[in-house]
Structure formats: C-alpha cells, structure tokens
C-alpha cells in the first residue's frame, strides 16, 4: 500500500520525536537505503561509531531500530519512513540483509504457542493447580463477605473509611487470594471515598458489586461453563494470550479502529484500550494493552484505520476482549457507514440485553447518532427523542469541542456506557473522525 506523510505523522509518539524524525528524513543522513515489496531499511549515521540499523515492516507497519532510544517508534524509524514516503527512488530494491531478514521472518511467523503435551499427568497437575486456586478464591471471598458484613454493621459514616490501611489490607488480601480484579475494585472504592462528592452511593454500589461476585461464586456450579469463565475473568483470572489464540475460533473481518482510550490503572500501569468494530460482523472488540513506565506498546493503532485480520475473542458469554492475529493495515479511502443506535433508549435496551448475558460487563461500546451537546447546569447529550444522556468528560474542553463540531448538525459519536454515563471517545464530523 502507499503511505502518506500524514499517516507517517500519526505514528510519532510525541511532537519532539516527530520533529527530530523529520530532520532525519534527508538522504545524506543515510549511507545505506534499501527496500523490497514488504519492507524498507537503512543505516543511519548517529553519534556512535557504528551506524544504527533501522527497518520498517510496511505491512502493518512495524518498526525496528538498534538505537538506545526508549521512544517507539524512534526518530530514526520515523525519519526513514518520511524519507521513503517523500522519495522512494532513493531506496535500492534488493534482498534484505541478515538482521532484517531475521526480524521479518520472526514477524511473519510468530512462534506457535508451545502447547504442552496434554498427557494425563499434565492435565491432572493443571486441574490440581486450578482446584488449589479455587480453594484460595473461596477463602478470600469468605473473608471479603465477613469484611463487608462488618462494614455494613459499623456503617459507611465511620471515620476509618478515609484511611489507606482500611482498604489496603483487604485489597492486598484479595490479590493474595487470586482475586486481583476485586482488589483493584476495592482500591477504586477507596478513591471514591477520597475524591467523589456522592461517594456514599458509589460505595454502596461497589459493595453490591462485590457481594454479587461472592454469591455468584458460591453458586457457580449452577452456571454453564461459559458463564463460569466470565465470572472467573471478572474476578481476575487471566487467560494466557497464547492459549486464547490457540483454543478460540477466529473471526475475520475489516476491523475499524473506532475509539481509543489511554490511562493509568490503580496499580500505575499504563493501559490502552483500542475499540474495534467489524464492518461485516458489526461486532465490537476490545484490544487491551498494558505497559510499564516509558515502555512502548508492541503495536500502534490509529483512530479511523482499518485492519483486515482474523480476530479471536476471549471466552465469555458476551465476548468483548480480543486479540488480533496477523494484521494487514488498509489504506483509508472512505469511512464506512457503521451501524449506530438512533436513540439513547435503543442503546440502553441493547445494553440491558447484554447485561442479561454477561452481568459483569463494566463498559459497553456504542456508536450513537443524532446527539447534540447541551448544558443546563449539567452537561448532557440530547438525542433525537429529546432525552438527556449524561456523559463523562475527561477534560473541560471535551464539551466545547463537541459543541463546536455540532454547530451545524447532530453528531455521530462512539463511546462507552458504564451504566451511568457515556464516555465519548470519537466524534464524526463531515466524514472525519476526531479522537476524544
């Protein structure tokens, strides 16, 4: 596919790297430049004695460079990409050198997950480990139940609720009991006490949420296998990516990146949620990535791009989280008309049905149309029926940006509904998608 300067620009991790990368997009900076149908590579003069080896797999694209930078892609990769877009004639068409060949072949055929021989012994050991884990979980949930009863008995007005150790002790206990999601949930409840105006209501909802998990776990044998898996996942059981890729069936489609969200979780890990919508299947999928510190994410996505790929969902009664298999990025020509809810009522009806299948849903992706921002004390999105959908703003500016975009016509918005508020992640105006 042909890449544009604008597309290259969008891969820059920050303005500084973008600027430095552009400065390197000059032929004389690169003693060696070459390409084939699949990739480009080159050697860039740096401050060290040896030139840096930089390569780009054009299919996704993916970047590689042996410079010490922690930015990803680094300025060399961006410079090389810019130069390739501006002046492809400067690149000799040849076979990739060994270092490039090795990297490309690794990318082309990701190592097949090492499936352990499922002999009876290994299976038995696995089952035993799972039973031990279930026992730990059971103990942990019993302790949480007693703790919740004490909390209700002493009341939410007790001053101890403001203390970190009041929450930290039980949250850490949940992590030890292999219930990390409940641990995070308890830490979020403490944040609600500290930072929210209506914290008592939020706390009571949080208590109800924990108790629902406890009771569901106690009655887990009445649930079918998929519902049990959804429960364990909601409690914090993580399936290995390799297992998911190996065991689940894939769904091929043209997946449009309709929304992205970046943030820090309660454990200070950077996370990125990339919401995809399948053009044919009309299904949503969530690609969840984590990274520590400045470490870059393995894959780069851009709002509005289309990825033709098979995708596998994590097992759930209402699948959301997913993994992409081999990806092929598509040049964007025209954005498709993706299915959207015409009213808040339609969106909530669908949400209710999803909850009936998967009661642990934390967020619900929805593309909605005919929304207009309005403010009458509270900032809301008014739909075609005149209903005022409350929405969550990450920045004060969000409301004004939406209002500006909606000056001439109602908006199509993509966002997530958490049961209370709609969080806008993308707005469409005049055929263009804007990130929020």
């Amino acid at each position: 596919m042909k890449w544009s300067a604008e597309q290259v620009l969008s891969f820059a991790p920050d303005a500084g790297t973008e600027k430095r990368g552009k400065a390197l997009a000059r032929e004389k900076k690169w003693p060696q430049l070459a390409c084939n149908e699949q990739a480009v590579w080159g050697q860039c003069k740096g401050s060290g004695s040896q030139p840096y080896l930089t390569g780009i797999d054009l299919r996704e694209p993916a970047f590689k460079c042996n410079c010490p930078s922690r930015k990803f892609p680094c300025k060399h990769a961006l410079g090389l990409f810019h130069l390739f877009v501006q002046n492809p004639q400067a690149f000799q068409h040849e076979q990739p050198p060994a270092w490039m060949e090795q990297w490309l072949s690794k990318r082309q055929a990701p190592p097949a997950p090492k499936i352990k021989a499922k002999d009876a012994k290994a299976e038995k050991a696995k089952q035993k480990r799972w039973e031990e884990r279930l026992a730990l979980m059971e103990d942990g949930l019993q302790e949480l139940e007693r703790w919740l009863e004490d909390l209700i008995s002493q009341g939410l007005g007790q001053p101890a609720l403001g203390r970190a150790d009041f929450w930290e002790g039980i949250a850490a206990r949940m992590v030890d009991a292999k219930l990390p999601r409940l641990g995070s949930h308890l830490r979020e409840m403490r944040n609600a006490v500290l930072y929210r105006d209506n914290w008592q209501e939020e706390l009571l909802e949080g208590i109800g949420y924990c108790y629902l998990h406890i009771k569901a776990f106690q009655q887990r044998e009445q649930l079918d296998a998929v519902a049990q898996e959804a429960l364990y996942s909601s409690l914090g059981r993580n399936l290995r990516k390799a297992d998911v890729l190996h065991e689940q069936e894939s769904l091929s489609d043209h997946w449009w990146v309709v929304g992205m969200e970046h943030g820090l979780d309660v454990e200070d890990r950077r996370f990125r949620k990339t919401w995809l919508l399948g053009e044919q299947s009309e299904k949503y999928a969530l690609i969840l990535d984590f990274a520590f510190g400045q470490e870059p994410y393995a894959e780069q996505y851009r709002l509005g791009e289309c990825i033709a790929a098979p995708l596998v969902y994590y097992p759930s009664s209402f699948p959301q989280r997913a993994l992409l298999k081999q990806q092929q990025r598509q040049a964007i020509t025209e954005l498709p008309q993706l299915p959207a809810y015409p009213t808040s009522t339609a969106m909530l009806n669908a949400y209710g049905q999803a909850l009936a299948q998967q009661p642990w849903l934390e967020e619900w992706p929805a593309l909605m149309e005919n929304l207009r921002p309005s403010s009458n004390g509270q900032k809301v999105l008014i739909d075609e029926e005149g209903r005022a959908l409350p929405f969550q703003m990450m920045y004060v500016n969000t409301y004004w940006q939406l209002l500006s975009l909606a000056a001439r016509q109602p908006l199509r918005l993509f966002g997530t509904w958490n049961g209370k508020k709609f969080r806008v992640l993308m707005a469409e105006e005049a055929g263009q998608w804007w990130p929020f």
């Binding site: 604008e6 000059r26 009341g155 007790q158 109800g208 909850l355 959908l389 500006s404 001439r408």
Partner: protein, 502 residues
C-alpha cells in the same frame, strides 16, 4: 425498601440502626430473605446496584438544544491543515506559528477546524491583542460558540451595558478593551460619561486601555486628563498625546524646545531650561526624572526633545540628519540630546532618522553608553523595507566571520520584521562561512539568529537553505541541533502554507 432507605441504613450502620424493612419490592428480582440482617442489606445492595445499571431511565432534557449555526462558512481546511493546527495548539510556546496559521487561513479564505476552536478561543481570552484577528478568522462558528461561554464574550459584537455598569473591574476592563477595539468612539463616550465617578484604580485601568485605537478624536478628552490631580493619570495622558503628532501638546512642546536648541557659526548650541514651569509639568515633563546623568535641567530638555517630531529639527536648524547627529555626538550634552532624539525617532517611526542613528552606532559600536541611550528601540521601530536594507548594508560592512557582538547580530535578533529572500540567503551564507572557519562553539547570539530566521524567512526557501551546511567542520556538533530546528520549523511553515492554499 427503596435505594434511599438502604443508603440511610448503610451510612448509619446496622448495629446502630435496626433494620425494619419489608423486602417485598425486591422479591421479584430474586431477593431471598436471610436470617442475618447484614446479609439482607448486602443482598439488597447487590440487587439495586445491578438494577440501577440494567434498568436506567434516561430523563427528557429540560430544554431543547441551542439552534444550529445558520450563517455560511468559508471553505473548510483540509485534514492536513487541521492536524497542523492541532499540533500547534497542543504544544505550548508556538504562538508565532499560531499567528501565522491564523493569518494565512484568513488570507486563503479558509474556515478554522471546528475541533480546534475552543482552544483557540481560550487562547484569545488570554491575548486581547489578537482578539480582533480571531473575530475575523474564527467567525461565524466561533461567534456562535461564544454565546454559550462568557469567557469568550470578546467574540460577540454586542456590548453588555449592564456588565459595564455593574461588573467588577476585571470584567469591565475586558469589556472596555473589546469595546475600544470594535467601536473606539463609543467606548470613549462611555468612559467620559462615568469618568468623574470612578476610583483612581479604575481610571488608570480604563485610561491604559485607550491605547488600542488611539486617534485624534481622543485629543480633547486626553487634554482634560492633563488637569487631573493625580500625577500617574497626567503622565499617561501626556504620553498618549505625544503619540498623536496633531495634538496641541506636541505643538506646545515644539515651540517650547525651539529656544533651547539652536545653530550658529560655532555649530549646535544648547541652552538648558532654568526652571521647569507649570505648563511643562502639565505636559508630562517630570521634574525629578533622570533618564541619564545628574543634570536635572538636561533631563528636562531630553524629555522635551523626545516629544518633538525629529523632522522639525531638519527644517528649523536647516541641517541634514547626519550633520545634526554628528554635532550632537560631539556636544557637551550629547547623551541627553541623543537620548531625546532616539526616543523621538522611535515614537514617530522616523525611518531616515533611525537609519542615520544606526549608522552612527556602527561607527562607534564599542561605546558603552549606547545601551543607556536606548539604542535597542531603534531596531524594533524600523519598518520591514528599511530593516532589510540596513541589515544587508551592515552585513557588507562587517566582512569575515560573524561574532555575537557585531551590531548586525543585534539587528538580526529582532522578532518583528520579515526577512527578504536576499537577506535570508546572505545571512545563511555568512553563517555557513562562520561555522566552516571558526571552531569557537559558544556563538549563542548567532545560534539565536537561526531561531529568528525560522519564523521570519520565506519558507519557500527551505530546499535551497537545506543545502551545503558544513557538516564536516570542527564546530558542527554545536550547531547541528540549531540548524535542524531551523530547517524543521521552516519545513513545517512551508507545509502549513501549502495545505492552506491548496
């Protein structure tokens, strides 16, 4: 049991508040009454928490959304221009690029990207000097938006007269500045109407704001202010009147000065005023002001000269500028004379005087007194044509390696005047020569010239300017980043302009 009742029980605690509730309402949702009251409460919380999510009702809006914008808009920007603008507004410190973007968008007849408008309007609220430009280039969507956010009221043409009467001083100042920009005469009338009742602080604030849109029609009001009892008001009014060549104050000052500065066979003659009369004080001459030296009388004369249009002296003394400046340079009171004339040349933007003053400066660049004479101000007052002329001449007069202390460097560090292509190419040629031949690496002034040129040079020269930098010179490592930044900014400006005009 309602959610509110449940919440009340939980806040108080079941040990402090016995639970006497019927759980009927929840039974249809699978609630099963337990022996332990705490378990009932927890079960109710779980049921309600889930129900509130699953069966949430979205209420009808209390009022309909605002009417749509109906006015036609100019051609929208292309996607790449939208990305350029977002890159500029999301990175602080890019004000020069932002102004250039807005001016180019106006010239190209493009409407601004809707998603970027709120940040631009916030920026405008912090930069009153750019509000007139924003009103033009962000209309009509920016004006439509401003009706919903009082911080952006500067975009609206209606003046909120109630706020002018009842608002606090900060609001009234903002309102008055906007009024003054849009309808200078009406604003002046509004100020005259309330002048007598205002406090000194308010008078100072509003008088300062008159500077935007100053014209001859302000003269009668400013003359009245000269009779105010407070010195700070009088001084400010005199300063403003001195900016209006047709004002009676300038006329009075000219006739006052005539007798102190004369020319006879011996050359330039100066007679210092013996005392400072009340009329001079009324016209803004400050008795104890010492711009230079210790002679009060010479300082009075310097202040008077600063108000008289410099061309008057050519005619009155029948000498050309060069003769006058040379005579002043050699005179006993040279510092006071030159200070006054520099001030006057800058005030009236007298280009030929500015050129001659620069020539004098380049003849004696090592003299320490130049900075106390305020020579820096003449560079700012030069118009584009004379700036370029002077800079080219100065480059020719200073052959060889450039150094930070060369007068031409000070001239090239100005931030206002755009560079001609000829000047840009000459400066870059000289910089390359300097990098090639000079291993000294601490040329901070010369490196700053590159950051000025990045914004003042014609971006179409980018390709030409990218060539032939002496990358193998010994000092290149110290220049590399500055040259890269210069070329990158130039390239960005080129792309930005191309996208707006395509």
């Amino acid at each position: 049991m309602t959610w509110k009742e449940l919440l009340k029980i939980c806040i108080l605690g079941t040990s402090n508040h016995p639970v006497k509730s019927d759980w009927e309402a929840l039974s249809e949702w699978g609630f099963q009454k337990q022996v332990q009251p705490n378990q009932n409460v927890l079960q109710a919380a779980a049921s309600y928490a889930f129900l509130q999510k699953a069966a949430k009702d979205i209420p009808m809006a209390k009022q309909p959304p605002a009417p749509f914008l109906e006015q036609e808009e100019a051609r929208p920007c292309q996607r790449s221009s939208q990305l350029h603008l977002m890159a500029i507004v999301n990175n602080p410190g890019n004000e020069k690029l932002l102004l250039e973007f807005l001016e180019e968008a106006r010239a190209a007849g493009r409407s601004l990207p809707a998603a970027g408008l709120p940040k631009l309007l916030d920026w405008g609220a912090q930069h009153p000097e750019n509000q007139a430009l924003l009103r033009e280039v962000a209309a009509p969507r920016g004006v439509w938006l401003a009706q919903f956010n009082s911080s952006w009221a500067y975009m609206l043409s209606e003046i909120d007269e109630e706020r002018w009467e009842l608002g606090d001083l900060k609001q009234r100042r903002r309102l008055f500045q906007r009024w003054r920009q849009q309808q200078p005469q009406k604003a002046l009338q509004a100020l005259e109407a309330i002048w007598e009742q205002e406090s000194l602080k308010a008078k100072t604030v509003f008088l300062q704001s008159l500077i935007g849109g100053l014209s001859d029609s302000d003269i009668p009001f400013l003359e009245k202010v000269l009779d105010e009892s407070r010195k700070e008001l009088r001084i400010m009014a005199a300063d403003f009147l001195a900016l209006l060549p047709n004002s009676p104050l300038v006329e009075r000052m000219t006739s006052r000065c005539k007798r102190f500065v004369t020319w006879n066979k011996k050359g330039l003659q100066i007679e210092l005023p013996e005392k400072l009369d009340e009329a001079s004080k009324r016209d803004g001459i400050q008795g104890n002001h010492r711009a230079l030296g210790s002679s009060l009388a010479a300082n009075w004369l310097g202040q008077m000269l600063a108000v008289v249009p410099p061309s008057f002296w050519e005619e009155h003394l029948n000498k050309n500028i060069s003769q006058l400046l040379k005579a002043a340079w050699q005179h006993e009171w040279s510092d006071y004379l030159l200070w006054g004339w520099i001030e006057a040349a800058v005030r009236y933007r007298a280009q030929s005087w500015l050129l001659e003053l620069f020539t004098l400066y380049t003849e004696y660049p090592q003299e320490e007194k130049w900075s106390s004479l305020g020579i820096g101000a003449i560079f700012k007052a030069l118009d584009e044509k004379h700036f370029n002329l002077l800079a080219l001449q100065a480059l020719e007069n200073h052959p060889g390696i450039l150094r930070d202390d060369a007068p031409v460097v000070e001239l090239l560090l100005q931030e206002k005047q755009a560079w001609s292509d000829r000047l840009t190419l000459q400066v870059m040629r000289r910089l390359k020569e300097t990098i090639r031949s000079d291993s000294y690496v601490y040329h901070w002034g010369l490196k700053s010239i590159l950051s000025r040129a990045a914004h003042l040079a014609n971006p179409e020269l980018h390709e030409q300017l990218s060539r032939a930098w002496p990358e193998d010179s010994r000092s290149w490592h110290s220049w590399q980043n500055d040259v890269n930044d210069f070329l990158t900014t130039l390239q960005f400006r080129k792309d930005m302009r191309t996208a707006l005009w395509e």
